[in-house]
Symmetry: C2
Subunit: 605 residues, 2 copies
């Protein structure tokens, strides 16, 4: 039943040998790896405007210089990450770089914040995608959470099926998005130049009295959310066609150029059009509506934006399970994240990511603006650690030109560190939770690591010394009456050992006497021991009996409890029968040093 539903939703199981990564050319790689970064333009400008709006409409002109500062940061990040690409041709995520150069603690902070971040990527992208939809169809505004959750469910199923097959399909919407946004920017600029816009832009360069440095820094840090996702290329180098590093570096550069162009274009249009951020319509939606009216082109732009955000969420579905796999391999996360599912994806990672991001969407009511600060700070922590790791690497290895490389990464590190600090300083009320949560995650990583080390230690044997030993065997069969199941179990027990006793727990003297008589009559060749229970508990007296047997024989014998159990034909019939044997088994396995075996008797109907 469950199996069939699973087949329909997820597809047939795949052989391990089918895991053959399809290598990517530059253009395809750009499409697949850049959706997270490029989709950030859907909310980056809006984040800046939202902060400035606090000081009034006149303050919105600051968005232009702030965006230029963000562009400067983008340049620094692209240059630094090019160095990482060449240094780690097998993939240089922040976790790897930190582990390699900074040691366990830093790598766990990087790993933990990346994991948290991927969860936030899904939450932010699905919420922002919902924004794009509800901007076009305001009637759906009250169903925001539902729409975002449907997206997440869809992503989960898609990824449980396995995404590799769809890799080339993914390229189309990304190019569509890039084309539509540039088309929007160019049309918008033309419309503005030809005087087609009536709204007045805030005057450039006027001093607005209540704009403080604090507000500007806050707006700048908000704008940095447009840079989330630029690290994706450096993680994926092994998937590139040869020469992998060169192709990856070229892809990163292209992505930077496109991202920068779109971001500054949107910001300028928003400024010229005099757009005010609104709770119900996104900035891009406003620009598109003013440029093209509410016609077909407008709806295409909104649809493509929603789609690209959806794909951005999808990138977290490849990154999260892979990072969880790496952490699990290093024994910081449960082994289950290492298991590949029927369709070769890391199913547990995918499901965990979906549940966590769905929870975030529900808790934050799908409000993009509340999620983005958490998201951005979560990104800049591993950015900083990764740059720091590179600095240490250059100092240690001292390759050719290492001083220049060190200087570049030092600039990168200082910039991302400053931004992290600006985040904490300007948005503490929104991001403090990360600084509670991250140490907890790292602590859990440590505890898991210690547990695995500990377990391995206890289970390890010296194969030259430790060999199996033979002992005797005492078998105890709890019986509730004389039935075919009991007969079956006694037959089985007698094949294993001559020391077999049956134990009957009776609640009153009459029942006990009747059982004893009947047993004598039957005479199955096994002694019956009778226990009286005054508290109607079967487990209690049985436990005490086993304790006694254990105390008497454990030096010479193994103790085996054989539980007679009939198995009903349909699973739901089992609720009609006593489940004492399940309880008994769970108790004995967990607390006693006895072997518990279930001897099934299958009912025919």
């Amino acid at each position: 039943m469950f199996g069939k539903v699973k087949r329909v939703l997820i597809g047939r199981p795949m052989k391990s040998a089918e895991l053959e990564a399809e290598k990517l050319g530059k253009l395809k790689a750009l499409a697949i790896l850049s959706s997270d970064a490029l989709s950030s333009v859907a909310y980056g400008t809006e984040q800046i405007l939202l902060v400035l709006m606090v000081a009034g409409f006149a303050a919105l002109w600051y968005s232009v210089p702030i965006s230029i500062a963000v562009l400067g940061l983008l340049v620094i990040l692209v240059i630094s990450y090019r160095q990482t690409i060449f240094a780690y041709p097998t993939g240089g995520g922040a976790y790897i770089v930190a582990k390699d150069n900074l040691g366990q603690a830093s790598s766990l902070i990087a790993g933990g914040s990346l994991l948290v971040d991927y969860v936030l990527t899904v939450a932010v992208s699905s919420s922002a995608g919902t924004d794009a939809i509800t901007s076009a169809f305001p009637i759906l505004h009250d169903h925001r959470v539902l729409i975002a959750l449907v997206m997440i469910v869809f992503l989960t199923l898609m990824n449980l099926r396995g995404v590799t097959e769809s890799a080339s399909v993914l390229a189309i919407p990304i190019y569509l998005f890039v084309i539509s946004i540039f088309f929007l920017i160019i049309s918008g600029v033309i419309k503005y130049m030809t005087g087609g816009i009536e709204a007045a832009a805030p005057e450039f360069g006027t001093t607005v009295s209540n704009v403080s440095l604090f507000l500007l820094l806050k707006a700048f840090s908000s704008g940095c959310s447009a840079l989330t996702g630029v690290e994706a290329v450096s993680n994926a180098i092994p998937n590139f066609r040869q020469p992998a590093e060169r192709n990856a570096a070229a892809t990163l550069l292209m992505m930077g150029l496109i991202l920068g162009g779109m971001f500054i274009g949107i910001t300028l249009l928003a400024y010229w059009y005099g757009i005010r951020p609104s709770g119900t319509e996104t900035v891009i939606s406003q620009i598109a509506r003013m440029t093209f009216g509410s016609g077909i082109i407008y709806y295409i732009i909104q649809g493509v934006t929603a789609l690209i955000l959806f794909l951005a969420a999808n990138t977290a579905y490849s990154a999260f399970p892979l990072l969880a796999f790496m952490l699990a391999k290093d024994k910081y996360m449960p082994h289950m994240f290492m298991v590949r599912g029927d369709r070769l994806g890391f199913s547990n990672g995918i499901i965990f990511l979906s549940l966590a991001s769905a929870l975030l969407v529900i808790v934050f009511h799908g409000e993009t603006d509340s999620l983005i600060p958490l998201y951005a700070v979560g990104v800049f922590i591993p950015f900083t650690l990764s740059q720091l790791g590179m600095m240490v690497r250059w100092i240690k290895l001292k390759p050719a030109n290492w001083v220049l490389k060190l200087v570049i990464n030092t600039i990168g590190m200082l910039t991302t560190l400053s931004i992290t600090l600006i985040f904490i300083f300007t948005k503490f009320a929104q991001v403090w939770i990360i600084f509670i949560f991250l140490p907890i995650v790292v602590y859990v990583f440590y505890k898991i690591y210690i547990h695995y080390q500990n377990t391995a230690e206890q289970l390890r044997i010296d194969i030259t010394i430790d060999k199996p030993q033979i002992k005797g065997n005492t078998i105890i069969i709890p019986v509730a009456g004389i039935t075919r199941v009991v007969m079956n179990t006694i037959s089985y027990a007698k094949t294993l050992s001559p020391n077999v006793v049956a134990v009957y727990v009776g609640f009153d003297d009459e029942a006990i006497r009747k059982m004893e008589d009947k047993w004598e009559q039957w005479d199955p060749g096994v002694r019956l021991i009778v226990l009286k229970s005054r508290y109607r508990s079967i487990l209690g007296p049985l436990r005490r009996f086993i304790d006694t047997v254990e105390w008497k024989t454990s030096a010479t014998d193994h103790i085996t409890i054989l539980i007679p159990q009939f198995v009903t034909k349909h699973w739901w019939e089992s609720i009609l029968h006593n489940q004492t044997s399940l309880l008994m088994r769970a108790y004995l396995i967990n607390y006693k040093d006895v072997v518990v075996a279930t001897v099934p008797y299958h009912l025919k109907s």
Copy 2:
């Protein structure tokens, strides 16, 4: 942990011998058995007024003749049930009477409708109790469902602890209630007689144009909800002090008198005071407020009313589990309803009742008026069947005066049958669900019965012929590596049989080769069989291997699967480890004729 919480909430376990029913005198019996019936006056009059109000305020005078008709019905019921008491001194609930005289089908309908009814008793009484509270404190009106649920949780805990101890305590609120209501009626009558009431009553005897026979019948059937609970005495005769039947009959009579007096008193006052039924304040609350003002006496009356309704719900907590026990003993319900809990109550019945009634309260938003029609129709079906059973009994046994007895029960049967039909006729829209649900319940009873018969048939052995047989034993140990757990399991296996094989499922050639080499080096005296899995499934290849072994050896050997398992020190640590063994066990037990044993190795830390 769970154990400790349970101790605090439920109390220490009790010995079976402590089950010594405390026998009841007439006054105490009246107190304990009548809360369900007497509490009906809290909503009986109101139900009539609600229906009449549809035809306008002037129609409310009909409530007086309708209430007199309800009183007549009460007389008939009391006389009929006295006969049942004398005929069934060991307790004559509708299920017993129907089973005894009408056969299986009728008894199951009676039993099913009674069970449904007890659930409704809890739902109605807790909702009506909530009404009494929110009438006094309108601010709580929006938290109705929560208040009713808190009542149910409290009742559950109280009954899981066991109620017998509190039997004498229960008498106090009932007498308080009777005293307060009669005090209210007398004070109200005096106030009315002395002209202290300004409101105008609808004129008695005027013809109201839009009052149809249909409406009057509907109002009458609504008024019959005041009679729910009168059957309680006849179920409980064994609990009475000797002479039990006489005492029970006298108690029933007293209850009838008190109920009739209170009901007609409230109806008259409501008429004289010109009270209109309201969605936010109960009729009794309105009468009490007009009589005494919103002072201390008013609050006492509301408090006592809420308390009595709470106790009425409590009667269902003794009746439901007992009836479920009887049905389970007759194999119509799962065995689990026969198990007494730590505190000697039938815990499963109590918990089931609570969950079902809580569900009803939630679904009906705690609206008493929507629940009462279902409740009343559910009561009158077993009333009718019980009377019919008595008729058959008199015709069969023909005792002294049997004709008179037959006439009495025939009148009773025809009356209750008419009322059931009036219910269906006038309130079909509200009660149809019962006629869907009841057949389903009866069908499930039948299916359960057949399943138990079937199972017993298959498990029965002839103890003179069927004796245990001895066969050989083949043991299979699935291993994932060479560890202390595996060594432990092999040691154990070698004590049981010389035919032991270890099975390793590998995912790639390298892992398989390594395992084979290491095993050869270790040489534990057991052959290793290696299976390769292309789909990363351990269960699949193992299953096929077991099939092969089964096919080869099942004629001569039992097949035993020994699962090596290490048990972590803390339960939560187990999520860090692979739970394949659990899956394997569940699959094998349910589908294969093999014995599955778990050999535990307990980690020290």
